[in-house]
């Protein structure tokens, strides 16, 4: 079956350091991947997405890397700030299908001031 999972459930980083959050997916048909940030008591907030025809996409302080060969996705946060503390979810879908997004189990990022 299809599934999305995360390698590390918790991650603590020093303020100013770079953070890397990893994700594995198993559905080869997935061609659209999204990273969400969820702060306590709030809904998932879109951070960045990437389609399978790309292997890297950059946003503001964030970079998503996609390795289709090993079905691996990562989110890199540069110069991590206290406001980055949250749970991060990767999610997958197929571009041709808007039926649902499948979420991974989440990684809790804690930034140490």
């Amino acid at each position: 079956g299809e599934s999305v999972g995360l390698h590390l459930p918790t991650l603590s980083v020093q303020e100013g350091d770079n953070s890397i959050i990893n994700c594995a997916y198993s559905n080869s048909a997935s061609d659209y991947f999204i990273w969400y940030k969820q702060e306590s008591g709030k809904g998932p907030q879109f951070i960045i997405d990437i389609r399978s025809n790309m292997d890297k996409r950059q946003g503001q302080r964030v970079t998503v890397l996609l390795n289709k060969t090993v079905k691996h996705l990562s989110l890199q946060i540069a110069a991590t700030q206290p406001g980055d503390s949250a749970v991060y979810f990767c999610a997958e879908n197929r571009v041709a299908s808007y039926d649902k997004v499948i979420f991974g189990p989440g990684t809790s990022l804690s930034v140490i001031p």
Binding site: I34, Y36, Q38, G41, K42, G43, P44, Q45, F46, D49, F89, A91, Y98, D99, K100, V101, I102, F103, G104, P105, G106
Partner: protein, 114 residues
Amino acid sequence: EPEVTQTPSHQVTQMGQEVILRCVPISNHLYFYWYRQILGQKVEFLVSFYNNEISEKSEIFDDQFSVERPDGSNFTLKIRSTKLEDSAMYFCASSHPGQGDGYTFGSGTRLTVV
């Protein structure tokens, strides 16, 4: 920035009672979703809705659940007879084909069944 709005933010109900969770998706979005998140767990897909009908539902979305778009702006989730295990955060989301910003989620309704 457009938002998905959910009401109420917190609902407490007795087991066996019916609850209706309400959502106002982003106005030009065409696809609507409900997800739930049990405390400390991942976000789980419940149902997607397009063109006034369910397009896909998960095994969680059994006969106790229903969705409706009663007018041009609201999207509701009804749980007919709540169980203790229905206690969770329920998130509404919406999306538009071709917009590269994923799915926009509301802030959620915390449902507590007692």
